[in-house]
């Protein structure tokens, strides 16, 4: 065999496992969701193999008037999910950006330790971290006990099972994912440009908006995307901290699969999550490509 031929054999052997694996266990499941979203739900779970577009009609506003009814609640919950995810992005960015800045200005030997401290919670169980907030926010929890013993309130206030609790929980679990890209960008900041801007008479606010933000934008955008995507489809956080007012589209999907047993409708809802995610990714990739072209 020629050298080229041997190389091709090795390459094929290296790539075959991933191709087969992801082809069967990643692409097939995604395609089957798309397929199921256009099938008729069976009476007792399962599906009837007929083309059926009412699954989407229930969500987007057309109904057959007999069995499938349009309910505006689904679009409301989708809107709420997008809003929660947006707030999560903004809040985690506002928290992480200044701290990333601070860590990047620390003496070198401390920086690694603080980076480790930010990532450590990522290695701790997600469910344990959310459970901790349950203990803190519940009516007889840490926050309410503190408020009442300080005399600030006489009866426990509702914090748990509110939209605030959901966003707080999501921010808490997403912090490492926002912090690392933002930190990388802030750390790469060309400080001489900042000095130049200040020397040339721009004040701190102008320098921040015109020099620092544009330079760290890739990290901001990257972190925002990495936080936004898992937040939109999240169902664990609203399940534990959300209650009825904090219901998100992920909870709807879960209900359709595990209690309502309407798999086609659940598939249609997941197709919407997928569409949102792909849109965000597409916008990000085209922007990244554009800015890469602009740089070169």
């Amino acid at each position: 065999m020629t050298r080229k031929g041997r190389q091709n054999t090795v390459l094929a052997a290296l790539l075959a496992p991933v191709t087969l694996y992801l082809g069967v266990f990643f692409l097939c499941p995604l395609l089957i969701i798309a397929l199921f979203s256009f099938l008729e739900p069976g009476l007792y779970g399962g599906v009837v193999w007929n083309f059926y577009h009412w699954n989407y009609g229930r969500i987007f506003g057309w109904a057959d008037g007999l069995i499938e009814v349009y309910e505006p609640i689904y679009l409301q919950i989708l809107g709420r999910s997008l809003a929660f995810a947006t707030f999560t992005v903004l809040a985690s960015l506002l928290l992480c950006y200044p701290v990333a800045f601070w860590v990047s200005r620390l003496p070198e030997k401390w920086r690694a330790s603080f980076l480790f401290l930010v990532t450590l919670p990522f290695f701790t169980s997600l469910i344990v971290r959310l459970y901790a907030w349950l203990l803190i926010l519940k009516p007889s929890g840490v926050v309410n006990n503190a408020l009442m013993s300080l005399g600030l309130t006489s009866a426990p206030i509702d914090i748990l099972y509110t939209p605030f609790a959901v966003v707080l929980g999501m921010v808490y679990i997403m912090i490492p994912f926002m912090f690392l890209p933002v930190y990388a960008a802030v750390d790469n900041l060309d400080r001489s440009l900042v000095e130049a801007s200040l020397d040339l008479g721009a004040n701190r606010v102008q320098t921040f908006i015109k020099v620092i933000v544009p330079q760290t934008l890739p990290g901001i955008v990257g972190g925002s995307m990495i936080v936004f995507i898992p937040s939109v489809g999240n169902f664990v956080v609203p399940d534990i901290l959300g209650g009825a007012k904090g219901l998100m589209i992920g909870n709807l999907v879960e209900q359709q699969f595990l209690s309502a047993r309407n798999w086609p409708f659940g598939s249609a809802l997941s197709m919407i999550i997928m569409a949102v995610v792909l849109t965000v990714l597409l916008v990000f990739v085209t922007r990244a490509r554009k800015s890469a072209v602009g740089m070169s």
Binding site: V10, L22, P98, F123, P230, W263
Partner: protein, 281 residues
Amino acid sequence: MMRRLSSGWVTLTLFSLGFFTFIYLPLIIITVYSFNSNPVNMMVWDGFTLDWYRGLFGLQERVDDLGMNRAIYVESTDQLIAALKNSLTIAFFTTSISTVIGTATAIALARYRFRARGFYSGFLLIPMMMPDIVLGIGLLIFFVTIGFQLSLLTIIIGHCTFLISYVFVVVQARMAGMDPALEEASADLGASEWLTLRKVLLPQLAPGIVGGALLAFVISMDDLVITYFIAGTGSTTLPLFIFSMVRRGVKPEINAIATLIILASVVIAALGLWLRSRKTD
């Protein structure tokens, strides 16, 4: 820089210390209150106890002054142990499979030029970005449709679909910093492709592979959402077990389990960091 050791810097420092308090306070609160002996309102301190830990391991049945059995609240320590065993089994197989496949893919993309290379490097990121609920229900429908019984095996398959990508990314990052000259030398000296791969490339890649494997192990141990959809009866994992406990209401034993998990993950993370710092020395 020192000339701007100003009120701005002080504010920033205070803000940052607040940030780290925000991150760690919840974990500290769980740990502290896991030793609280108050069984009724677990967030009101009532004295130190190890009862919840004892109860967890089924070690002690203690009858207190009022004749109430305080220690045994966990419905079944056996269930907890079974869940832990399942999680470890799944994580072991998942880590092995995804490390092999992910490493092979990273090598293929870093060392060979071929037409679909760009496609692969983009496509491999998608499983990481796909919301886990979508992947979870996709796998559920897929397994049920093809008549595959839900079990530990389906969970292992499910975890690998996205962990291959994680291993790939970590190993690829390691490859990016490596010198291909050594492999070229090996090839020039007459070693076959496989020999070069085994004797030259893999030893150099080892820290990346270990790092990827560690990451895969941790994520697999902690995965809740995908497991939730494709776990069959009898294949409850640790996160799933805690999730169902939390859903049924807060209880002092959960604090004890949570504290043990926090402790374990801190130890693992510290170990990983220590290994990495040793490797780079």
